[in-house]
Each structure stands twice: as structure tokens, then as C-alpha cells.
């Protein structure tokens, strides 16, 4: 087993300020960035704040920016860097820092709470749900989401524009709206709200969210663009327009 000492640069601080600190930490074969952070914690910086749970890429807790790229620390192998390269680890930039690598991600939970929940047909009894595999697969792709919020962090609509947070739910939650809109048994029409309440129009499909998704969900192609098309059909479809004119009060 080969071992070397890595140069690590870790942001440490709190809401009042902070900066990058240099550390030298041992690295063994097969280790990931989170292992190195843990070793740093156990040997040199007992109070280094970091959020993590499963260490297997399933819970989405250990999100950070590694050399400026939003990544899960548990899924970033140290072998992806040169041994003499300095590895810089900073907290997610879009959310307020609490301490060191831990940020306040409550923005995401607030947005989640605003989206109307799954609404099945009223008379459908438990055990009587029938859906075809091909019909559930579209929404199932979006339900792979581990809520690491890397897509929310990287999205330029909110990354450097605090003022947009009010009106824009972010890719994770537009994907949630798409998931419900594509659910074979959901009865709520979510097209208008996607546009008007959650700001789908802000998205200009640069695909940054798709690029950083550790679950490789095609957020832009399979959720955001189809939702935009559904909204557009509704808004500009002349037949829908005429129908609305004729039959609305």
C-alpha cells in the first residue's frame, strides 16, 4: 500500500469571516477526500466542522467545493489529483456559511415546502394503484435525487444573485414539480405554478445542474426542458387559448 502526504487547503471560519488554512495530511490507497478530512479532524483539527452521513454517495450530506468544483467529498477519490497538487476544499458558495465546511441549506427546505404535494384521485383506494413501468420511469429518474443540493449551489440564477432566491425554486425543485407533473396519478395541473410561482422562466438551460449531479440525473434535458415545453404549450397553444376565451367565465 502506498502512502503520501497531501497538501490540503481548507476554508475555516464562520458567518463573521474566515480564510483558507494549509494542512499536510496522510493519504492511503483508495481514499476519498472525506477520509482525508476525517483524518485531519482526528489528528490536527478536532473541531473542524463538516457534515456527512453515509460515506457511500447515498445521503447527499457531504457536499462541498473541491478545487472550485461542487462535489460530494465521499465520492471524490484522492487519486483524481496529482500527489503534489494542493487540494482546496471550500463550503458551498450559494448558501450562508455556518462554520467551516457546513452551510445553512434551509433555503432548500423552504422551497420544498411551497410545492403542492402529490394529489391522487380522491376515490382511488390504497392497493388499487395501477401504473405501467414505462409511465413511472420518468418520475423515478428524478426520485433518484439524494438532495445534495449541488445543483442548487451551482445554478447561476441564484449562485451570485441573492435577490433571485425569492422568485426561483432552483433546479432541484423544478425537477420535483416535473416529477409530480409526470406522475401518472397526480391530478394537479402544475404548469402555471412552475412558471409563475417558482420562476421556471429564469432558467436558461445552461446545464450546469446536470453536470454536477452525482446521481447523473439529466435534470435539464429530462425535467427542465420538458417542463418549459409543457408551459409553452399551455401559454401559446392557440386551441388552448381559444378554449380559455370561450369557456372561462
Amino acid at each position: 500500500m502506498s502512502t503520501y502526504d497531501a497538501n490540503l487547503r481548507v476554508w475555516r471560519g464562520d458567518p463573521d469571516g474566515g480564510g483558507l488554512h494549509d494542512y499536510t495530511v496522510e493519504v492511503n490507497d483508495g481514499e476519498v477526500v472525506l477520509d482525508i478530512i476525517h483524518r485531519l479532524q482526528a489528528t490536527q483539527a478536532g473541531d473542524l466542522a463538516v457534515r456527512w452521513n453515509c460515506k457511500a454517495g447515498k445521503c447527499g450530506s457531504c457536499s462541498a467545493e473541491i478545487n472550485g468544483r461542487p462535489r460530494l467529498m465521499c465520492m471524490t477519490r484522492m487519486s483524481s489529483f496529482e500527489p503534489d497538487e494542493t487540494v482546496t476544499i471550500t463550503p458551498l458558495r450559494t448558501f450562508p456559511v455556518m462554520r467551516d465546511l457546513v452551510t445553512d441549506v434551509s433555503f432548500n427546505y423552504e422551497k420544498a415546502r411551497q410545492i403542492p404535494s402529490f394529489t391522487p384521485p380522491k376515490d382511488l383506494q390504497p392497493g388499487e394503484y395501477r401504473m405501467q413501468q414505462e409511465d413511472v420511469e420518468r418520475s423515478q429518474e428524478f426520485r433518484k435525487c439524494i438532495e445534495c443540493f449541488l445543483c442548487q449551489n451551482v445554478c447561476h440564477v441564484v449562485r451570485d444573485h441573492e435577490e433571485n432566491k425569492q422568485n426561483f425554486a432552483g433546479p432541484r425543485f423544478h425537477m420535483r414539480i416535473a416529477e409530480l407533473d409526470m406522475h401518472p396519478l397526480d391530478v394537479v395541473d402544475r404548469k402555471n405554478m412552475a412558471q409563475e410561482e417558482f420562476g421556471l422562466g429564469y432558467c436558461n438551460i445552461t446545464k450546469c445542474c446536470t453536470e454536477v449531479c452525482p446521481e447523473h440525473i439529466k435534470i435539464t434535458d429530462n425535467a427542465l426542458i420538458p417542463m418549459k415545453e409543457r408551459v409553452a404549450d399551455r401559454k401559446y397553444d392557440p386551441i388552448v387559448w381559444l378554449g380559455n376565451k370561450l369557456f372561462r367565465r
Binding site: 492511503n28 489528528t43 478536532g46 463538516v50 460515506k55 465520492m75 405501467q132 413501468q133 426520485r143 433518484k144
Partner: protein, 649 residues
């Protein structure tokens, strides 16, 4: 002012207070299902979790959720599921829990669909069900290999939907349910022996919080972080087990720890991470370094006749369950873990000390990626192994504790009035060994029952218990103790690493009397050293402090495991004694009950425990009659079977 206040560098001394009807500790499947139930009965509920909402360990469950819905094979029934569960647990299970579980699991799964869950489907549009170890028929509702994530997300979203209802009705999302995330409970507070509240701290700020509530539901999961090689996350430090013990409740079955047969073995940094049993359920096979499918050599006496004896028969079973017997690759987990251990010991292991798990030669790459996407991803990213081309290297990993808080099967009530428990932190349901897939269903069935039990308890109270100032002060002092300066300061990380090695090496998958005694001596030493633990830094998000507090629970629970393991002089399920290798029918109905030793200072954070053998209630006659007498004879004493209807004939 306490001495701890003087050294505490930051964090408020103010204590935030909340009043609730029910406090649920733990936001995994069991906790969230309990919250839903108590809220649906009109109560105000707080849910407290050490992590963020939706990150609980339930996400790690991969294979599925067992429920006899009969969607794939109509021969299935709750009785067959009940029988499989008892067999899997070697007939030491609490039979009433196993009965309720088998009966209610289908309703709990169907209910999830009404919350928005999207399980994989059968051709006729029902919930698809897959094969799994120890289950007679395809029984596991699943979503690829990420079933736990689907269940946690579904319950999380159901809670959000209830909060939206409350907002519409009462103008506040949090009128009836509030999630306290990144918050740890350090003490349960009693009034005259009954639950009066729970005390803890916010991990983010280090400030203290007191919940005044007449009922607490513990749903804190397992204890795997006391072992070095484990599939469990940092949260699994036995908090609920320890809180219950210290509040005067009892634990049972603590000697039974499930080592999942297939954890990753390489690279070292990911050793222990789970490889789902779904790989074998979908046709994957175990092989040794000679390329031999060795499981055919390890069918134990009690399962003889129930499993395929040739590769041809096993492969035929995979195509059609009804025309052949099942593959021994899918024996219950304890059997498979021991078999792997024996192969490696006999020198037929892989270069990294495991055995091979082969799916590549059994399925097309497209099928593998579709049915086992997380496994494909996990091996590709963490081990640079392409499982569509190469075999995986796997070996046993500490996965689940069968032991837990002794509860009333119907209500989830522990010995302490007002205390309830559900899920992994409760004991009895799985006996000496849990079947794969029975954990997710356990969470749903008993999470609901504990929520209901707590709701009924609170409604029947004529007056509420009170939290005394003295109790709050004691809890505060105890939580701050790791900041006090001490001579010979101990680093909590070092102590934790030593505990993990001790438990892994001396009370692990194969146990011996002398080694367990060695472990107990070590634990004694750790407890003494624990008193000298000192942490750096302040109270704001300080992982060193968090670990120092969790260590108390790990030490206490480890002592229960070791003491019970020493007493049980037989091998059964998740307890294998090298010096007592056989299963002994005289032990079958005996529970080892852990309690805190009498006469100790009630403020002690890591009290001594006593372990007492007690007899379990015999199985109800109608349930006993669902088994063939010939099978029961393998487990029961002759005396116990005198009641069986076939006995006299």
C-alpha cells in the same frame, strides 16, 4: 455557574423550551411514520434528528421492503411471511411482533403509494416484488436498488404535505409538526419514573433545548459505529438504546448482531460499505478463489431440503420459483456471512480477504445497469471496478442489531411509562437474525404502532408530568463535561477508534469466551478513560464534542453486547460462539435482558449493566400449528412441543 460554563468559549447558556404532546427522536423510516400517525390523531409532534431532514440511515436500505402482497406469486400469504421471519430468527423472535408485522406490512406499503411513492411495477401495473434471502416467494417491493431512499423521501414528503394542510387550516406550517434538525438528545427527563421530557443541544450552535412532553418515541436506529467494519453511518451510536436503559427500560437480544455477508472489502477506506442482497436476489452468485459456488457446501441441518443442491437446480429456480428449490446463495444472512468467513479462513479468499460476487456472467450489462444502478455506480466510483465485466470482492460487515429496547408488541411501549420505541432500536421482532427486506417493513408497521401507542397514552393522561429545574441543571452539566479541563486528557477520536477495534476483533462475527472477557476488561478501561475526555474548540458545530457525547452511548451499548454474548453459551443467528458452535434448544426461548445495575448514581452517564436470563411467552397455539412438527423439532425441546396438535399422533 458551573465550572463548565466558565470554560465554555461560546454558545448560549439560555435553554430554549418547547411543549409538545409527543417527541419523536430519530427521523428515519420508523420515526417519520410515528410522526405521521401521532399527527393524524391530532397531536402536536416534534421530530428531533441528529442530521438534516431526509438524510437518515434508512436511505442505505437498498433491496426492498418485504410484504406479502401476492403481486408476483399468489401462493404467498402473511402466514408464509410470518413463518419465514420466525425461521430466519431461529424461532427466538417475539412471535406477536412477527405476526403483526406480516399481517400489516402490505397495508403499510400500499399506503406509501397514496403518499406518492413510485415502486417498480409488474406487467399488470401492480407493485413488483423481488426474491430475497430467506423469503419463500418474491416479496420485496423495491425501486431498483434504492428502496430506502424512496421510502425516506416519501415519508418526508408526506410530512411536508401534512404541514401544508396545517398551514391552510391554522396559518402555520409548524402548527402540529416541527422538525428539529441537527439536534441531539442527551437525556430523557423523568417525573416520578414517567417520561416528562427530553434535553439536548443543537449541533449547529451548541445551544441547549428542552422538550417538555409526556411521551417520547425512540427511533434512533442501530449501534454499528461501535464496530470498525460497518455499513452504518456516524449516527448509529446506540443513542436510543442508551437513553432507554438510563431511563429505566430494558434491552433484549443485544448479543445478536447481523453481519451482512456482502460488504465491500477494498479499497480499505470503503471497507464495510454495503453491497445489496438484491445482487443475489436477481441472480448474482458467490464464488471462492477457485471459482467454485461454495454455498452448496454450507446448507445447515435446519434448512436441509429447503434449498437447491446443484447449480442447475438453483438456476432453474431463478427462472421459475415453483419448479425448483431456491439457491443457497440466498440462505439467511447469518449463514452466508459465516460461510464466507470459513472460505476466507480456509485460504480460498480473494486477494483483499473476501470472496467473489459475480453478476457480470449472469446478466447483460444493460440489465445490470438498470436493475442495480447504485451498485454499478458505487463500484465504478469507489473501487474502479466495472461490475458488468468483473466480479465484486465482498465480505461480512456489521450491519444491523437485532437487539434493542424491550417493547409491548402492540403499542411499542417500553418499560418506562411514556417511552415508546420502534425500528432498529427496538428488540424482539427479528429474533436472533433479521431477514433482508424485513427492516423497511418493520419501520413502517411498528413506526405507525408506536405513534399510535404514544397518542393513546397521551390522551389517557389526566395531568402532565413536570420537568424539574434540578433535572435540567444536571443534564446541562453533563452535556458540558467534555469541555472541562482534566489531567491526562483523552482524545475522543482515539478512544472511539480503540473501541471499534475491540468490538470488531473480540465481540465480532465469531466469538470466544476468553476474547469476550478481554473485551469486557477493555471496556472497563475505556469507561475510566472516558471520564478524562476533553474536547478542543467551542460549542458551535464541534464534531469532537458531538463524538464525546455519542461515546457514552457506544460504551454503554457495547457493554450490553459483550455481557450478553458472554452469557449465551450457544450459537444462534447473529451470535456465533466458537467454543459453543451448536444451537441449543434449551436456549431458544431465553432472552438475555439488560438493565442498569441497581444502586448507582442516577446521574452516571455510563452506568454498569446487568444481564439476566428470562423466559419468553410461548407461541400461541394457532401460530404454532402453522409449522410442521418435523421442522419445529429442529428448534424446540420435546417438552415445549407437547401442545402441538400433531404431537400425539
Amino acid at each position: 455557574m458551573t465550572s463548565a460554563d466558565a470554560v465554555r468559549p461560546s454558545g448560549s447558556t439560555e435553554i430554549e423550551r418547547h411543549q409538545y404532546d409527543v417527541v419523536v427522536i430519530g427521523a428515519g423510516g420508523a420515526g417519520l411514520r410515528a410522526v405521521i400517525e401521532a399527527r393524524e390523531r391530532g397531536l402536536r409532534v416534534a421530530v428531533v434528528t441528529k442530521s438534516l431532514f431526509g438524510k437518515a440511515h434508512t436511505v442505505m436500505a437498498e433491496g426492498g421492503c418485504a410484504a406479502a402482497m401476492r403481486n408476483v406469486n399468489t401462493k404467498d400469504s402473511w402466514q408464509v411471511h410470518f413463518g419465514d421471519t420466525m425461521r430466519g430468527g431461529k424461532f427466538l423472535n417475539n412471535w406477536r411482533m412477527a405476526e403483526l408485522h406480516a399481517q400489516e406490512a402490505p397495508d403499510r406499503v400500499w399506503e406509501l403509494e397514496t403518499y406518492g411513492a413510485l415502486f417498480d411495477r409488474t406487467k399488470d401495473g401492480r407493485i413488483s416484488q423481488r426474491n430475497f434471502g430467506g423469503h419463500t416467494y418474491p416479496r420485496l417491493a423495491h425501486v431498483g436498488d434504492r428502496t430506502g431512499l424512496e421510502i425516506i423521501r416519501t415519508l418526508q414528503q408526506k410530512i411536508v404535505s401534512l404541514q401544508q394542510d396545517d398551514k391552510r387550516e391554522l396559518g402555520d406550517y409548524e402548527a402540529r409538526i416541527k422538525v428539529f434538525h441537527e439536534c441531539s438528545i442527551t437525556d430523557l427527563i423523568l417525573d416520578n419514573g414517567a417520561i416528562a421530557g427530553a434535553f439536548g443541544y443543537y449541533r449547529e450552535t451548541g445551544s441547549f433545548v428542552l422538550f417538555e412532553a409526556p411521551a417520547v418515541v425512540l427511533a434512533t436506529g442501530g449501534i454499528g459505529k461501535s464496530f470498525k467494519v460497518s455499513s452504518n453511518s456516524w449516527e448509529y451510536t446506540g443513542d436510543g438504546h442508551a437513553l432507554a436503559l438510563r431511563a429505566g427500560s430494558s434491552l433484549i437480544n443485544m448479543e445478536f448482531i447481523q453481519f451482512h455477508p456482502t460488504g465491500m472489502v477494498w479499497p480499505l477506506s470503503v471497507k464495510g460499505i454495503l453491497v445489496t442482497e438484491g445482487v443475489r436476489g436477481d441472480g448474482g452468485v458467490l464464488k471462492n478463489s477457485e471459482g467454485k459456488r461454495f454455498m452448496f457446501d454450507y446448507i445447515p441441518e435446519v434448512f436441509k431440503g429447503q434449498y437447491a443442491e446443484t447449480e442447475e437446480e438453483a438456476d432453474q429456480w431463478l427462472k421459475d420459483n415453483d419448479s425448483a428449490r431456491r439457491t443457497p446463495d440466498l440462505l439467511p444472512r447469518d449463514e452466508v456471512a459465516r460461510a464466507i468467513n470459513s472460505e476466507v479462513k480456509a485460504g480460498r479468499g480473494t486477494p483483499h480477504g473476501g470472496v467473489y460476487l459475480d453478476i457480470a456472467s449472469r446478466m447483460t450489462p444493460e440489465e445490470i445497469k438498470k436493475r442495480l444502478p447504485s451498485m454499478y455506480h458505487q463500484f465504478m466510483e469507489l473501487a474502479e471496478v466495472d461490475i458488468t465485466k468483473d466480479e465484486m470482492e465482498v465480505g461480512p460487515t456489521c450491519h444491523y442489531v437485532m437487539g434493542g429496547i424491550e417493547v409491548d408488541p402492540d403499542t411499542g411501549g417500553a418499560l418506562t411509562p411514556g417511552l415508546f420505541a420502534a425500528g432498529e432500536c427496538s428488540g424482539g421482532m427479528h429474533g436472533s437474525n433479521r431477514l433482508g427486506g424485513n427492516s423497511l417493513s418493520d419501520l413502517l408497521v411498528f413506526g405507525r404502532r408506536a405513534g399510535l401507542g404514544a397518542a393513546d397514552y397521551v390522551r389517557a393522561l389526566s395531568n402532565r408530568p413536570a420537568v424539574s429545574d434540578a433535572a435540567v441543571e444536571a443534564a446541562t452539566t453533563s452535556a458540558l463535561a467534555p469541555f472541562d479541563p482534566k489531567p491526562n486528557a483523552e482524545n475522543p477520536y482515539t478512544l472511539h477508534a480503540e473501541l471499534q477495534e475491540t468490538m470488531n476483533d473480540l465481540v465480532g462475527i465469531i466469538r470466544k469466551e476468553a476474547e469476550i472477557e478481554q473485551a469486557l476488561a477493555k471496556l472497563d478501561e475505556f469507561k475510566k478513560r472516558y471520564a478524562n475526555v476533553v474536547v478542543d474548540g467551542g460549542r458551535i458545530f464541534n464534531p469532537g464534542w458531538h463524538l464525546a457525547i455519542d461515546m457514552r452511548n457506544m460504551l454503554l451499548v457495547s457493554e450490553c453486547v459483550a455481557k450478553a454474548a458472554l452469557q449465551r453459551t450457544e450459537s444462534r443467528g447473529g451470535h456465533t460462539r466458537d467454543d459453543h458452535p451448536d444451537m441449543d434448544a434449551n436456549w431458544r426461548n431465553t432472552l438475555l435482558v439488560c438493565r442498569t445495575a441497581p444502586g448507582q448514581d442516577p446521574e452516571t452517564e455510563v452506568p454498569d449493566v446487568t444481564v439476566t436470563p428470562e423466559t419468553q411467552l410461548p407461541m400461541r397455539a394457532d401460530l404454532l400449528a402453522t409449522f410442521e412438527l418435523s421442522e419445529l423439532k429442529k428448534y424446540y425441546t420435546a417438552q415445549e412441543l407437547a401442545e402441538h396438535p400433531e404431537w400425539s399422533s
